[in-house]
Symmetry: C2
Subunit: 122 residues, 2 copies
DNA sequence: ATAGATGCAAAGGGTTTGCACTTGA
DNA sequence: TCAAGTGCAAACCCTTTGCATCTAT
């Protein structure tokens, strides 16, 4: 991915405009506004390339298609609405993780996903 | 799922014998020892039924296919080893989750996965 | 006997890939 | 120009579903 294409620019623009993690399909929907005819395969190829070059990071939500968001954010977690399925960034983190790890285990990271209802669906 | 079939018994047996969370394919592999000819569709149907009746619970690991384990364990989370891929039960939980939720959001559950190296791989 | 459960294969949904065409540099 | 990038459709993988057959009760 060395060239600047209309499609690639549209995809990057989508992530610049959106703060919350997006699935490939959501990226496609938003991108097509500024780049009609864009194909889902191109979204997948570009998202993968953008992750490889460190511009995006994957947000892995259990049981959901993978989503992506801009890299470089401060440490945070996510909240998924059980009603609309939307994913929202949650600031802050929890403490006490070290105390949960069995002796001999080395902790180097964690993923936390909160579930419930978002403000609109509640 | 109101009847006791050979297939259903074999599937339950697998979960009784295994403590670790299993994917549908792993359940199939183990079940076929005691029930040759068992189909993957039957595994999916029975696992789903066993979850619905509360005998199994889904273990959602980000980026991994869903796994299932016996219900009734005390609330716990999981540790995944980055080296061997193994999943380990982690006792305990974290506090302060309510404070992380934006106003208007309703929290009703959470998933926490720790990453690092298990005692054997460390 | 008969509704429930199974096995197979086909259908779905999301993701990847092959290939001819388009396009940025 | 001409290889990188795209669009389309087919291929894949995992999961679900339709349907004829089998079976627990």
């Amino acid at each position: 991915m060395k060239r600047n294409t209309r499609q690639r620019d549209a995809i990057r623009q989508v992530f610049d405009d959106e703060r919350d993690p997006l699935s490939p399909q959501e990226v496609l929907d938003r991108s097509q506004t500024h780049c009609p005819g864009l194909g889902i395969a191109t979204v997948y190829r570009n998202v993968k390339a953008l992750v490889d070059e460190g511009w995006l990071v994957a947000v892995l939500v259990p049981g959901e298609p993978d989503r992506y968001e801009l890299a470089g954010k401060v440490h945070h977690h996510h909240f998924q609405c059980r009603a609309c399925g939307g994913l929202f960034d949650i600031d802050g983190c929890v403490a006490g993780l070290d105390g949960m790890v069995p002796s001999g285990f080395q902790l180097d990271g964690h993923e936390l996903t909160l579930y419930g209802r978002c403000a609109r669906c509640a």
